[in-house]
Amino acid sequence: MSHFKIKEASVVNEQAQPILTHEKSLSHKIAQGSEAGDILDQQMIMLGIQLVTQLNVLIKTSRIYDRTNAALDKPVDTMLTLIKTMAHDHPVTLRLQNDFLFLGESHLKVTAQQMAVVTSIIDALNVWKIGGVTFESTAESKDLREFAALFVTLDPENKSIDDFQKEITARGINGITLEEQRQLHIKEGAETGEHKGSRTADGEGPDGTGNADLRTQRKMSAKNGYAKVAGSVGTLTQSVREGGTVSFKQAKRAIQNIVDLMMDDEATVLGLTTLRCHDQYTHNHSVNVSLLSIALANRAGYPKGELADLGLAALFHDMGKSTISIDVLNKPGEFTDEDWVAMRNHPTEGVLTLSKLRGITNLPGRMAAASFEHHMNLDFSGYPKLSVPWTASLTGRILTIADCYDAMTSSRVYRREPMSPSKVLNMMFSKSGKAFDAVLLKLFVNCVGIIPIGSLVMLATSELAVVVKPALDKVNAERPFVKVITDPQGNPVDQGREIDLTEQDEAGSFLDSIVRLIDNTEYKFDTSRYFV
């Protein structure tokens, strides 16, 4: 079982101290060295409910007792413990929007039992029209006491949230700030769900500016979706390491969201896979493999529901690595023979771990196949080696391609220096029909492009550009969409233009062309910055 347990606190003075036996910083632990630095994970959300509970206790107690009264000691101490843990790396914000509570951007799911406390807090925040309270780790006992005292003594009938914030500043309350209630940004022509009843946003404004807005919105949605998936895989991997249970609820929702985004704008989502894994613990690799697998499976004709199942399976294809110590995974030097044995065992270890955690009748077959077969190769030249006949599943063959592509382009996964996307694709083509399923590999190229997304290229104009989307027309497959990142002299340009290299002038000549692929890894140049 997980060491992470929280006791429910009562509203009055009988609060129980949360039992925080995990590391001091959760977000640090999950996103150590991560690009998605402020990923909020399930554990954080559980702590979020605790934070709500303690804030409620603090406010209620402050209505009765003076700020220095000993009755406040316990709620203040408990809240401080929570804040120090949750806001160790980044401030933590408790938000309220449309009656729903959020920790950062993550919805806090509330049970019927918790509802009394949650209602009390929502009502209290609504009276002040407060949209969020941000706590920083610098907050101390006196700050919490003063804040609570202000909360209950100032009159929201006569004072605004601005006045409240000014009082906070005037009294030198440190580490606590207020946010106004957020307004839904409704862009003309864009579906916002609240009005259109759709889970996706699409459309273009009548003034023609809608495309840019839409792209930004899609990009933001994709990034949020990516962060969610990364957060859920991080939580589950950690839970497995600690011998805890595995529930895929959070991951499933996150993956379903990704599938929606993928079907809406494949290129934007695949652009995020340029986020290469720099640290085993960041889980970018797993997320990337999941995204690439979904894209490939989508091209292969998987129905929507099956895509989510495959994406979930792909997300946990490396679960077997949870049996390998972090020290080995993050070892700076070469692996020993023993380390390699452990690495080679991880597909089988993954099957055993997942089967044990989920139960043989409750584990999706795709998830087991993803773990078992992703290093097997089509011709069984990989591992694990089997002494009985085995048929590689479609899931396994998809995973083999997605995993290999992301692993080879990443810097750490197999102790190699990273390779540029095009080089990796080239290598994979050389093994088409042997290690990789030939048809699936062709489909994969259709997804990422012959010159893959994230590739650094030199244009005929001597400008440098990054490939952001494969060409739509297979005849012009070597003419993808690119984003210019420098001028011809190599000076970086902000908001460089995006070019469709298939565009032609009136005479029928192409306006621009790629003259050279550049191995960005040779220069240790990370192109992911142009996608996130």
């Binding site: 933001m220 292969a300 004709g301 089967s355 409750n362 584990l363 089997l386 290229v457 550049i518």
Partner: protein, 599 residues
């Protein structure tokens, strides 16, 4: 449509005055129906006729509404549903799990929309999702994921998170500042310079020069890049083959597939550590299959484990011990409880494979099987376990014999049935101890068992059944005693026939008793019959006379010299009716003797 309010905690707000808006009124009616449907489904189950009626009313109402207004969208608050800015549903208890609003709110749903063309099955699925009445194994799902997976075109959701996302400009990403790919944009000039230098060098080298990617840069550095990759078009045949594979993958039996995978690992794995884990996992597999009642699969797994040492002779002694432990502990109590829970929960489920599974157990499992037999409810399930016990406990029946003292009649009856199949006379003592078992059916079964296990000889135990409160039990015992196979001295009978209550027994039973006495005691009973025939009584005269007539009849059938002598005595000393009865019995005896002589 019925507009009465319901008594549930979550009520649709009924209009207190005529609503200005017919759409609003329709919505409120629908929510009243929704509440009733939900309540009846929770109370009686969704398949109950009452719940079905409410569901159909809801569906028809919703269909009519959507036909008129095309959409129906609710905004969700903690305990309320809003339609067109008005509260149309409010639960009295804010956080009740029975409130539609709270269920939606709890899963983070901000808006729920129904669209025209909503099929009944989709509405049903939504309701099942709301009240968690879908497959309990789908623990990874909530309302949002379930509806998403169904991809329903006529029910859409907007989650609070989606709204939050479009309301913020915040960016969850922060790029790494250190790591293997740490070059900054400022080095781009250097990068470009170096690449241009390479281009120049390649030009000097001529067309054989290769690009850093390994591809020929056609036309030199300034020419257009060509990857050299061709032929990645996908044919219709290839796509059709993929579609077929996707369908196969979708419809394959998940558990069987996983078991195939574990079997492949078992056959192939060399790592001792993984083998240890794998064998441990097989224990969990057996548990899971047992808990889910997947008997044919479990049977296959057990078959596999039994033959593993042949397939893998290279297994270490430790692993062989681990494997043997798996098979030896098949009937551990927790597992038997799983079996019991499954079988009692699903009495109609297929039991194919279960007999075979049970027969793989060893005799050491007999106590566990007995415990299982005692707790199973369905006779078909009991019969399967009993059959297994019949085989496994044959050489060690002690546990079954001890079980005869159990207080559960059904169990004891099943044990008796097994003992009867074995038909071993040494069980008679244990069986005879059940003469006073509280349950009638068991006592009847005991009589039958005595008849089988001791078909002749001492009938004393059978005689003791004459005290049984149940007439059918007494008659069953008497039937055996009348067979002539048993002996019982008259002294055994005496307490029954000499008591006053004997008179109260039915005539047929008294006749049976006299016949049984005659059959088991022979002439020992003559003095008693004599007293019955000749005794003068002032009380209970009629019944005693009736008894005397019965005695005469029996003596006539006995037809021994001593019996005939007593009849003659009765002919002289008895009352009128007795005398006549004695005469008739004597005549009967004489006819019988003549018949015997003639034959």
């Amino acid at each position: 449509m019925d507009e009465r309010t319901t008594e549930s905690s979550a009520l649709a707000l009924s209009p207190t005055k005529a609503p200005p808006n017919p759409e609003l009124a329709s919505v409120k009616r629908l929510l009243t129906l929704l509440d009733r449907t939900a309540k009846s489904s929770r109370t009686y189950g969704a398949t109950n006729p009452v719940a079905q009626t409410f569901f159909h009313q809801l569906f028809e109402g919703l269909t009519d509404h959507l036909a008129t207004y095309s959409t129906l969208a609710f905004l969700v608050q903690r305990s309320e549903l809003y339609f067109g800015g008005e509260v149309v549903y409010r639960s009295e208890q804010e956080s009740s799990n029975e409130s539609v609003a709270f269920k939606l709110y709890s899963d983070g749903i901000r808006e729920l929309t129904f669209l025209e063309g909503l099929p009944a099955k989709d509405l049903s699925y939504l309701l099942d999702s709301l009240w968690d009445s879908l497959d309990p194994e789908e623990e990874d799902d909530d309302i949002v994921t379930r509806l998403w997976a169904k991809n329903l075109s006529t029910i859409t959701l907007v989650t609070a998170e989606e709204i939050a996302k479009v309301s913020t400009d915040g960016d969850v990403f922060a790029l790494p500042v250190t790591g293997a790919m740490e070059a900054s944009e400022s080095s781009l000039r250097d990068l470009l310079d170096r690449e241009q230098a390479k281009v120049k060098k390649e030009r000097e080298l001529g067309p054989e020069g290769t690009s850093p990617t390994g591809h020929n840069a056609s036309g030199g550095g300034a020419g257009r890049f060509q990857s050299g990759h061709v032929g990645y078009d996908i044919t219709e045949e290839e796509l059709a083959a993929l579609a077929k594979e996707i369908e196969t993958e979708r419809t394959r039996d998940n558990t069987t597939y996983l078991l195939d995978m574990l079997t492949a690992i078992l056959a192939s794995e060399k790592s001792p550590a993984i083998l240890t884990k794998l064998l441990d996992l097989w224990g969990h597999v057996i548990d899971a299959l047992t808990a889910q009642g997947k008997w044919p699969l479990l049977d296959s797994v057990l078959g596999l484990l039994r033959t593993t040492t042949e397939i893998r002779p290279d297994l270490s002694d430790g692993h062989k011990t681990q494997l043997a432990g798996l098979l030896d502990n098949l009937a551990r109590p927790e597992r038997m409880r799983m079996m019991e829970t499954y079988l009692n929960r699903t009495p109609g489920a297929s039991t194919e494979g279960l007999p075979s599974v049970l027969l793989t157990l060893t005799p050491a499992a007999v106590p566990a099987l007995c415990a299982l037999l005692a707790t199973l409810e369905a006779p078909t399930h009991q019969a399967i376990v009993a059959e297994a016990l019949e085989v496994l406990a044959k050489d060690q029946p002690d546990h079954l014999l001890r079980g005869l003292s159990d207080r559960r009649p059904r169990y004891v009856k099943n044990l008796l049935a097994i003992l009867l199949k074995w038909n071993n006379p040494r069980f008679i003592e244990s069986v005879e101890k059940l003469v006073r078992y509280p349950d009638v059916q068991v006592r009847k079964e005991v009589v039958r068992a005595i008849g089988i296990l001791r078909p002749n000889g001492n009938g004393a135990k059978l005689v003791s059944f004459l005290n049984d409160a149940e007439e059918s039990v007494r008659l069953a015992a008497l039937k055996l005693l009348m067979s002539g196979q048993y002996k019982a001295a008259y002294s055994t009978w005496s307490p029954f026939v000499s008591t006053d209550t004997f008179m109260d027994r039915a005539l047929s039973e008294k006749r049976a008793m006299f016949l049984a006495i005659r059959a088991t005691s022979g002439d020992d009973v003559i003095p008693y019959f004599e007293s019955v025939l000749t005794e003068r009584s002032w009380t209970n005269r009629k019944k005693k006379e009736e008894l005397a007539m019965l005695a005469a009849e029996v003596l006539g059938k006995l037809a021994t010299p001593a019996g005939l002598a007593v009849l003659e005595l009765g002919q002289k000393k008895g009352g009128t009716a007795v005398r006549q009865a004695c005469s008739a019995a004597l005549a009967q005896a004489q006819r019988q003797q003549l018949k015997q002589a003639a034959s």
